[in-house]
Amino acid sequence: MSSFGWMMKLNINGSEVEIDVEDRMPLLWVLRTELGLLGTKFGCGKGLCGACTVHVDGRAQRSCITPASSVVGSSVRTIEDLGSPENPHPIQQSWIDLAVPQCGYCQPGMQMAAAAFLAAREPDGVDSGPAAPPTDEEVRRSITNICRCGCYERIRRAVVTAGTVG
C-alpha cells in the first residue's frame, strides 16, 4: 500500500489521524513534522532529557524513542491538549503563578511529566480519599526531565502546589 512503511491510525489529542510513514518513525517526528504539533520539543533524541514527553494512555513517555507504530490503539496527548489559557490544567496554572519557565523550551515535556505524575497519584477508589500532597522527595524522584535553565526549584514547588490544590 505504502512505499514508506506503515499506514497507521493514531489517536492524537482525541482525534483519529491516519499517517503513512516509515516503519519505526519516532512518535515525536510524527507529531512535529507530519501533524504540525510543534509544542512537543526535540531535545536529545535518546530519551534522556524529556523535552519530548507526551502522554500515552495517560502515562508520561519520551516520544523521541517511541516508534509511532507502538502507540496504535493508544491515546496520545500532547501539550496542545493539556489546557488552554481559558481552561488551564492545574499544572499550567501553578506554572504561571510561580513563574516557572525561563527559556521555556523543555517546559512542554516537563509539564506533561508533571501532569502524569499528579494524575497517577489520584485515588482510584471512592473511599481512599484525596491523595496526600506530593512530597519534595517524591517529585524529585519521579520527574527526571532536564531543564538547562535550571528552574528545578520552581518546578518542584509548582508541582507540589498543583498537587496540593488539585
Binding site: 482525534s15 501533524l35 504540525g36 509544542g39
Partner: protein, 335 residues
C-alpha cells in the same frame, strides 16, 4: 554619579510621526566615527532602526527597541522598567521589542562597559576612546547578550539616559504648546502636566513636536528615592505562552524550500571521507535530495559531510492525511 556624558544624544522623527531618542558616541571634534550620521541614516527609510531607540508613537505607546536577546531571563522587563521609570510611564504603556539584526544596532557601549566598567575618562582622550569602542562595535557588528550587560550597560547607562532625554524634550514641547515655562511642568503617567492650570498633554500628542527640539546632552535623572518601577517585580509577559507550548523556537521555523542537513564527521581527527557506504540506501529514503556535500578543508582537517533532505514540513506533508490539530498554528519565520 559616575556617568560622564560619554554618549551624546540625538533625536529625530521616525516614520509615522513618533519621537525617537537614541544615543551616539561623541561626534564633536573627532572625525573618527560619526555615530550620529550613522543613526540618522536610519531615520530616513521606513523600518530602518538605529541604536538604542526609544520610540514614542502617536497613540501614546512607548516602544523600547532592545539589541539584546530575551530568552526568559527577564532582560526585556528590566529595560522596560528602566525606561518607564525615567519617562514617568505607567507599566501598561511600555512595550519592549527586539531590534533587527542590523549593523545600525551594533552596540559598542557594551564592549566599552565590559572593558572599562565605569572608569571615568576626560576630554579629547575620552572621545577617542568612545569612538574606538563604537567603531569596534560596528566592525564586529556586535549585538550580544551576556554578563548582565543588558541591564548594567545598555539599560542603566544608555537607555536610562535616552529616556531621561526623551522626557526632557517632551516637557519642553509641552511648555511651548501650553505657553508656560518648563519649570512649572511635571510628568505623570505618560503625560506632561501643568498643575497650575490643571492642563495636561499625552506624550503621543507632543512626540512630533518634541522630535524637532534639541536633545539635552546631560538630562536630569530621576531621584532613586522616587522610583516606582525599579526595585519592584513586574510579571514576565512571556510566561503564559510558554506554559501552553506556543512560542516558536528555531526548531519550529519553516521557510519556503527549507532543507535539513544531517551533518556527520569522521570518527578520528585527520581522517577524511572517501565514500559513504550506505549512500544508495540513504538516497532511497523519502525526501532525501540526491546530493550530499563534503567539506574537506575543515580547520582541524576533519571531513564533514552532510546529507540534504526535505523532511515533511507541516506546510507540505504530501502523503499523510492531516487532521485538523486541536490547536492549529502555522509556524513561520522571517527570512
Amino acid at each position: 554619579m559616575k556617568f560622564t556624558r560619554r554618549t551624546f544624544l540625538v533625536s529625530g522623527l521616525v516614520a509615522g510621526g513618533g519621537l525617537a531618542v537614541g544615543l551616539c558616541a561623541g561626534t564633536v571634534g573627532v572625525g573618527l566615527h560619526d555615530r550620529r550620521a550613522h543613526q540618522q541614516d536610519g531615520l530616513d527609510g521606513e523600518g530602518v532602526l538605529v541604536a538604542l531607540w526609544i520610540e514614542i508613537r502617536p497613540d501614546n505607546s512607548v516602544v523600547v527597541l532592545t539589541p539584546h536577546t530575551e530568552m526568559g531571563q527577564g532582560a526585556n522587563i528590566a529595560l522596560g522598567q528602566i525606561v518607564a521609570e525615567e519617562l514617568e510611564l505607567p507599566w501598561s504603556q511600555v512595550r519592549v521589542e527586539q531590534a533587527p539584526a542590523d549593523r545600525a544596532f551594533s552596540n559598542g557601549n557594551v564592549i566599552q562597559g565590559f572593558i572599562m566598567e565605569d572608569d571615568v575618562l576626560s576630554g579629547f582622550f575620552r572621545r577617542v576612546i568612545e569612538n574606538a569602542f563604537f567603531l569596534a562595535g560596528d566592525l564586529a557588528n556586535v549585538q550580544m547578550t551576556g554578563g548582565s550587560t543588558t541591564v548594567r550597560f545598555t539599560g542603566w547607562r544608555s537607555m536610562r539616559m535616552a529616556a531621561a532625554a526623551a522626557r526632557s524634550v517632551l516637557v519642553a514641547a509641552g511648555g511651548i504648546r501650553l505657553g508656560v515655562p518648563v519649570h512649572e511642568l511635571t510628568t505623570v503617567d505618560g503625560r506632561v502636566v501643568h498643575p497650575k492650570s490643571e492642563r495636561s498633554l499625552r506624550y503621543g500628542e507632543l512626540a512630533e513636536e518634541a522630535a524637532r527640539l534639541p536633545v539635552p546632552q546631560d538630562p536630569a535623572l530621576k531621584d532613586p528615592e522616587k522610583y516606582v518601577h525599579i526595585g519592584k517585580s513586574h510579571a514576565r509577559d512571556d510566561i503564559p505562552d510558554k506554559v501552553f507550548g506556543r512560542p516558536v523556537y528555531g526548531i519550529d521555523c519553516v521557510v519556503d524550500d527549507m532543507l535539513h542537513v544531517a551533518v556527520v564527521g569522521t570518527r578520528s581527527i585527520f581522517a577524511s571521507v572517501d565514500t559513504i557506504t550506505n549512500e544508495d540506501a540513504i538516497l532511497a529514503r523519502r525526501g532525501v535530495k540526491p546530493s550530499w556535500w563534503s567539506k574537506k578543508e575543515w580547520p582541524w582537517s576533519q571531513t564533514i559531510h552532510g546529507v540534504l533532505s526535505r523532511l515533511h514540513s507541516p506546510s507540505s506533508s504530501p502523503r499523510s492525511r492531516r487532521p485538523t490539530p486541536p490547536n492549529p498554528r502555522k509556524p513561520f519565520c522571517q527570512k
